[in-house]
Amino acid sequence: MIRIVSAELLLLGKRASTWILLGIWAALALTFAYVVPYVQYTNDPSRASLAELLPESLVGTLMAGFPFFGGVLALMLGVLTIGSEYGWGTLRTLFTQGPGRLQVFGAKLIAIAATLGMFVLVAYALGVVSSLAIAAAEGANVTWPSAWLLFRGLAGGWLIFAAWAALGMLLAILTRGTALATGIGILYAFVIEGLFSALAGEISVLDRLVEFFVRANGYSLVAVLGVSPDDVGDRGPGSFSGPFVGGSQATLVLAAYTAVFVVVAAWLLRRRDVV
């Protein structure tokens, strides 16, 4: 299995789209977590809080982007990892090498899980550097969040990414390609969940339904880690104003989504003809 995983890591590592998505993610995370708020603070200190830009607020400041654009980028990574194989016809090349289909899928899962881990770590590394730079520029004291909070932030970020990436992989397998899968994924993330969330306050039955949506649970998870609900409710197209659920429920629901998406994707991949 180690050699197959190394093959998948080679595929992801040499693929430009992996690095393009990572670059976009890093740029967006840095811009919206630190650059824009710091520019606002320097222009008008009453419009932004310096405390949120310092190392102590690292987890809460960074996590707001995970359920929003981070999730969509993870979805695209999931789609590209397996959807392109249909377009290039390489799935049949892999399926005739020896390992079973589930082993091939398992190797892809491990490789994408590792890549998502790298995405999370890159965001945190940029957050550390940015918050230290701002603290130095403003002459503020440097205090770090607890190790437990840092761990929860890293794990929570990875879990949000994993749920979206697993959805991307499932959509790619269902549609046997990338274009339709990406379209459906983005439509679901922004339009369907967004509309239901917006209507949830007016129709009570939707309120309960939205509590089980991927985005609602992602936002609920980051809210537990220090992201202000008011802050994510005021973020343009990615805004989310509730309903929020508890951290344990959010973790369980996201883990359950990831597991269900992975199991259904594996079942389809194993069962269907590859032409």
Binding site: A7, G89, Q97
Partner: protein, 305 residues
């Protein structure tokens, strides 16, 4: 499955694949490929060749019948570990070099990466191995596909139209290479619609039409015995005379002449008899139906049926 199974590398029994209610891609195909032979799988486009090969690789599931590949169920690790394949156009990662593509496959196939240089040299692609696959010509892609199929040093090679897209020089070069791959214990199952390729390369040939096997044997067996071909005037009179001629088994019209089932040595007697009967003979020569003619007869007969 009547032959000694240890000698059979591929066995199919009444293998069938149906798509929906209307398309019967493969229909009751029973095929036996023996160890060490180069078996030609000949058929027109859309006859079911690629579908059959995909079933042998486990990529698609048959709707009826069964198959064994190297004694194992198609698509199992036991079968796949010992076979190499190239199905239709070679499919690789366009952003990777030829060498990196083989590196990925070597890791998947649990083959030492030292094999990569060997197979690249075998297909004469070492000089361009560092270039991205997307920059390759169709012929180079085909050669990389064969290199990938050889990575595992397989007991069975399944090649689907391996010279597709190659220029005449490349095809001429590739045919003896494919022939050489079948030397020793290795078995090659070669699908093609090119008669010349099959005649030059294959020990035995199976002809498939509309999903069914319509003929099987060595090229010589399929082409049948050598006979005679006659052009004479008046042709009808010549046909009547030869119908009862000693040593002639059968006479049939063939375009603007007669095909005579007789030993070529009987040509002298036949010519004398025709001339003595006042029939003008303009051409009398030994003749053997080409594989192409046999192929067309077999496949047309199936279509008419």
């Amino acid at each position: 499955m009547t032959e000694n199974t240890t000698q059979l590398v591929v066995e199919t029994h009444e293998l069938g694949k149906r798509y929906g209610d209307r398309i019967q891609a493969v229909d009751g195909l029973s095929l036996n490929v023996r160890r060490g032979e180069v078996y030609g799988f000949l058929g027109p486009n859309g006859a079911g060749k690629t579908t059959t090969l995909r079933m042998l690789l486990g990529l698609i599931r048959p709707t009826t019948g069964s198959a064994l590949v190297l004694g194992a169920k198609p698509g199992t690790s036991r079968a796949l570990a010992r076979l190499g394949s190239l199905i239709e156009t070679p499919t690789f990662y366009p952003y990777l070099s030829g060498r990196d593509n083989l590196r990925v496959l070597a890791r998947y196939a649990r083959v030492p990466e030292s094999r990569i240089a060997t197979v690249l040299a075998d297909v004469d692609l070492a000089g361009r191995a560092g270039d991205r696959f997307r920059t390759y010509s169709l012929g180079m892609k085909q050669r990389l596909g064969i290199a990938a199929a050889l990575l595992k040093d397989p007991e069975l090679l399944i090649l689907d139209e391996p010279t597709n897209g190659m220029d005449p020089a490349g095809m001429a070069e590739m045919r003896p290479f494919i022939r050489s791959l079948g030397r020793g214990d290795r078995t090659v199952l070669l699908s093609s619609h090119l008669m010349g390729e099959v005649e030059q390369v294959c020990d035995r040939v199976g002809v498939i039409s509309q999903g069914s096997l319509v003929g099987e044997g060595t090229v010589d067996e399929l082409r049948g015995r050598e006979g005679l071909w006659l052009r004479a005037e008046p042709l009808g009179e010549a046909q009547r005379l030869l119908a009862d001629f000693r040593g002639v088994e059968e006479v049939e019209r063939d375009d603007d002449g007669l095909r005579i089932a007789a030993e070529p040595a009987a040509a002298v007697e036949i010519n004398r008899a025709l001339v003595e009967a006042g029939i003008a003979v303009s051409e009398l020569r030994p003749e053997r139906p080409s594989l192409e003619k046999v192929f067309l007869e077999l496949t047309n007969a199936e279509e008419e049926a």
